[in-house]
């Protein structure tokens, strides 16, 4: 059977489109966990990063965090999280271990880019803002945040795309997501299933990349936009 035929066969199976192992279910699981991870990671690190950037104290920490984050293998974090959750009886097949591992993956780039972003705002700009009578809070929300949006959004974008790709590993710890098609396709030597899974993840990642790039551009204050 050729690759093409295998793909067609997989796509023509009813179980691919309805039921617990369908594309919709896996896609939903994958998106849900990815979005949740990025959002939670954002809630956890963005306030701190904004504050550190604001008081201009974050550079060294930012660099260290992103370095450590990159050095820790997601597969390892996933395995550890999985064992912990099994031990506390959280159930096989639940998304918690995957969520934990993905939060750990998403946090560093968002943290670092946010600090860097806030710190790119020129001190003179801030002085003028203060000079015009803006309170510290207004300086932050009215000047620093809008101006650092490009870099902050870039951090979110990087995080999101990495999370989508890495969520596939969840299939190695009895979870679902699109990785399920990859792992099962590999195990059952069903090339069609494998490729469909890979393509779906790729498409999801590209969609996220494009969507967030557009958001990045949209949230860039007009004055900062590079002419397109």
């Amino acid at each position: 059977m050729t690759v093409w035929e295998s793909m067609r066969e997989f796509l023509s199976e009813p179980s691919t489109w309805s039921g617990p192992d369908s594309i919709w279910v896996r896609l939903g699981e994958h998106i849900a966990v990815s979005v949740a991870a990025v959002v939670i990671a954002g809630i956890l690190v963005l306030p701190l990063a904004v504050w550190l950037g604001h008081i201009r104290k974050g550079s060294a920490i930012a660099t260290a965090v992103v370095n450590i984050g990159r050095a820790v293998p997601s597969f390892g974090v996933l395995a550890i999280a999985f064992l912990i959750f099994v031990q506390i009886g959280a159930g096989i097949g639940e998304p918690w271990p995957v969520l934990v591992a993905l939060i750990a993956l998403a946090a560093p780039p968002m943290f670092t880019n946010t600090i860097a972003g806030i710190q790119t705002v020129e001190p003179t700009t801030l002085e003028s803002a203060r000079g015009m009578g803006l309170t510290e809070r207004e300086v932050l929300t009215g000047v620093e945040l809008p101006l650092s949006m490009p870099l902050i959004m870039e951090g979110v974008r990087i995080a999101f795309v990495q999370v989508i790709a890495t969520a596939t590993l969840g299939a190695l710890v009895a979870w679902g997501g699109l990785g399920r098609f990859i792992v099962d396709g590999f195990a059952q030597q069903d090339v069609g299933e494998l490729i469909v899974g890979a393509i779906l993840v790729g498409m999801l990642a590209i969609a996220a990349e494009l969507g967030l790039s557009a958001t990045q551009r949209a949230t860039t204050p007009r004055g900062l936009r590079v002419g397109r």
Binding site: A79, L83, L169
Partner: protein, 219 residues
């Protein structure tokens, strides 16, 4: 009786398996080194192309970016019927993941070389090739090394996933630990992976500093 996991660290196991740990260290290092080296070589070639024909930058970034979005698990699995269940499979996939990072940094680094310097080189009669190897690359070095650094640390993490091919380096311990609920193996695998990544990271920081004394700034 519950299928409970073992106690946290079994030092005896570590002691007994030092040989395996060393073997896996070598495996992890060589998979990383070969992939990054290969990625560097390919990136050099592609960068030369980009510099010569500027319009190729977008398609090249597009292709390497596309490779980057293919989840590693899928790429390893897809290569099995093509190259088999071996290191070649792992290296091909790992190398493709380094390309986007290295090329992007290489091009950015070279673009950052000041115009006057290039003009001076032309003025002195350098051929395009000589200018590339003797001016552009050396001056772009800090940024290139930064790219290599990121690529290397990222690759160290990805090597763990090659455990699904029966390789894995330290990832072998992570996978085995997962198959047997054995904490020691998982922790050993993760810790050593982090240590290796950190050592290589620091090595690159040092290299960056050593190769570009003019770029060292008191930060």
């Amino acid at each position: 009786m519950m299928a409970q996991a073992s106690p946290l660290i079994d030092w005896q196991w570590i002691w007994r398996n030092m040989g395996e740990i060393l073997d896996r260290t070598w495996q992890h290092l060589s998979l990383t080194a070969v992939s990054v080296a290969l990625g560097l070589v390919i990136s050099l070639g592609l960068t030369a192309v980009v510099l010569r024909w500027r319009r190729t930058y977008t398609p090249i970034t597009w292709v390497t970016g596309l490779l980057y979005t293919i989840p590693s698990l899928a790429l390893f699995a897809l290569l099995v019927p093509i190259v088999g269940l071996n290191a070649t499979n792992a290296v091909i996939a790992l190398t493709s993941y380094t390309l986007l990072i290295i090329i992007r940094n290489m091009v950015a680094g070279i673009n950052g070389v000041p115009e006057p310097v290039l003009e001076a080189a032309d003025g002195m009669g350098y051929t395009r090739r000589a200018r590339f190897w003797r001016m552009e690359i050396p001056l772009a070095l800090p940024v290139i090394i930064a790219g290599l650094r990121i690529a290397t640390v990222t690759t160290v993490g990805l090597v763990t996933v090659t455990a699904v091919l029966g390789l894995g380096g330290y990832g072998y311990f992570i996978l085995r630990g997962l198959n047997t609920f054995f904490w020691t193996q998982i922790l050993v695998g993760v810790t050593l992976s982090v240590v290796l990544a950190t050592i290589l990271d620091l090595a690159f920081i040092w290299l960056q500093s050593a190769l570009s004394p003019w770029a060292r700034s008191p930060k």
